[in-house]
Symmetry: C2
Amino acid sequence: MARIIQKFGGTSVGDAERIRNVARRVVDTHRKGNEVVVVVSAMGKSTDDLIRLADDVSNGDYPREMDMLLTAGERISMALLAMAIQDRGVPAMSLTGSQAGILTTSEHGSAEILDIRGDRVRAGLTDGKVVIVAGFQGVDPVGREVTTLGRGGSDATAVALAAALDGDVCEIFTDVDGVFTADPRLVPHATKLDEISFEEMLELSSSGAGVLMARSVEFGRRYKIPIHVRSSFHDGNGTWVKEETMEEAIIRGVAHDASEAKLTVHGVPDQPGVAAAIFESLAEAGVNVDMIVQNISIEGVTDISFTVPKAQLATAVSIASQAVKEIGAAGFDVSENIAKVSIVGAGMTSERGIAARMFRILAEHGINIEMISTSPIRISCVVRGDDVNAAVRSLHDGFELADEPQEEKV
Amino acid sequence: MARIIQKFGGTSVGDAERIRNVARRVVDTHRKGNEVVVVVSAMGKSTDDLIRLADDVSNGDYPREMDMLLTAGERISMALLAMAIQDRGVPAMSLTGSQAGILTTSEHGSAEILDIRGDRVRAGLTDGKVVIVAGFQGVDPVGREVTTLGRGGSDATAVALAAALDGDVCEIFTDVDGVFTADPRLVPHATKLDEISFEEMLELSSSGAGVLMARSVEFGRRYKIPIHVRSSFHDGNGTWVKEETMEEAIIRGVAHDASEAKLTVHGVPDQPGVAAAIFESLAEAGVNVDMIVQNISIEGVTDISFTVPKAQLATAVSIASQAVKEIGAAGFDVSENIAKVSIVGAGMTSERGIAARMFRILAEHGINIEMISTSPIRISCVVRGDDVNAAVRSLHDGFELADEPQEEKV
């Protein structure tokens, strides 16, 4: 008998028929003698519908009430799923984030999980029930206010619950078959990975792989909970994200991210504290700076380039324009037509020349590199946005990531 | 400064524009220096939509999960209203039934309010906020389970909150102008009442007047909270339901109810305990028996007639058919084509001949009376369902309840 935490996203519970299908899978797992805890998101596009309703009603930004509003979504899907499971003769019970004891920080819309009590979840399991827990939501124990975890929050709920409940595995059901060597929409012959280490998955997630959010991977890594990313459409094996992997591979996959924009501040006086001034202001405004590159100083001045989410570009620009004046820089420019392409693999720690091979592959395909950043198991290059598809394909083929060699398309 | 509890039903918050209109009214009341607590129902037909979704997902009856599901409805409307009020510059906060400390019994779908803590409501008012509370829902303090109060539950929430908070008035906003001398759909010249006593309103509500549920009136009566039933479309005065009324009237209004069916058990042995056996079985099965009439015993046997909600007719019939065997009765029959028409008025306690006048009016209009039941301030007659409209109109005119005498329509 295993204790299994299963997470189903909004698409998987998008309508009545899909909810019944999820119930069937949950009941199958339960009937095999496992204890099952299910984490669900809101149905399909219902979160978007609620946000639209709020926009219709109000012009303001009221995070507390927005959380109250949005948490209605999982309440609906979890209650319906509990009914569908009971229809199949298995006792089931739904719990809100608050009822499940998911304690968070107080930041509405982007709360972090602090602790999971889980008393009522454990009691339900002891009673032989399938326990369904609302994803994405929790409660701030100080103010007793309902909170939401922000994007990808349901995955985080599932992995954190698995950790708190000493689960054997956290199964993330999704509309793809698992984690691929590259985005299959860009690289049709991309291969599904059977296994990947937490560290590699963390780098892939941080580099744009949308299948799993980095915060969930980090939870799994910290509490050693294997995460099985698998299809909600069939029973086949997906990708296991875990501590150690049997397979050896230099490069595990190629990730890309076109959601960022680049800012370059020109003619920055090369003095201590100048860079700090810019990035402190950005951090205070809540702007998530990703890559930072500073050129070699020439004649006492330098250029600093950095990337930020396009959604935060307006804020970043206003801060940059202020900083240019304060630090006496020459000016700044902005490019939205960029994308980041990354290769990730634990094997590159023991293999030399991976970076050089990456740059050569891109050069051979006429792709110019604008910025470079590296970690021990990742190399990322910023390229022109128009070049990203070609960059992903050429790296995937150049590092021979497909199961079988592909013929070059003419 | 007064402490005012305002309740808006589903129609009043049916879409974004209506929610903004409600916000405007609430803010007007707040700006006049009053403390305002708002109770809201779920938006428009959203409860029906959720019930339909549950029917699509499941064939079973899962009251706990149904309550979890349905309470999402008020969560949405209350959060949206809190946003719309804050848009107008007035601080506001929404609270679920559980957060507001609305403690109930544990019967899912038909819980009764036991107590209202209201600590967070009071704290919000102290902070100068408009506090919005979800109607219709509460929490069972023993099992810590979310409950709903059943039909008309939001009115009950509002009046009970007014009692718990020492409110000065509970305003029930609705799509009619107030309480009328008869249903204006049947009697176009029916008159709006300016005032009515709790006792009279209780009888009207119990006799089919849908504008206010009896349980809400009972709360108002017990805790002496004046209830102002008024239109959500304009600012005019509605009907005040309160302890004592200035106006003297023999008959306050005519109510009718076509939602019941009649069962008659024939040839019942006229022995002690026989009637008890039937009605105990019905009570155990949760059937709400309304009127009971037993004919005079002839040769040791009698007939017993009673009315039950049509929705519970199947259960009542199966119990009656069992009871007929057990008590050795001759048989039973059922009529769905019935309706109850009632006249209500505190004045009838001091006036003789009211019943006789009612029966004569009905007889003059060729309407046969099948059952009669009375209270000190009410007389109800069961008539054929086809006759109910004529019965209501003839009684309204016969007791001269219109403001101005009406010419008989030819």
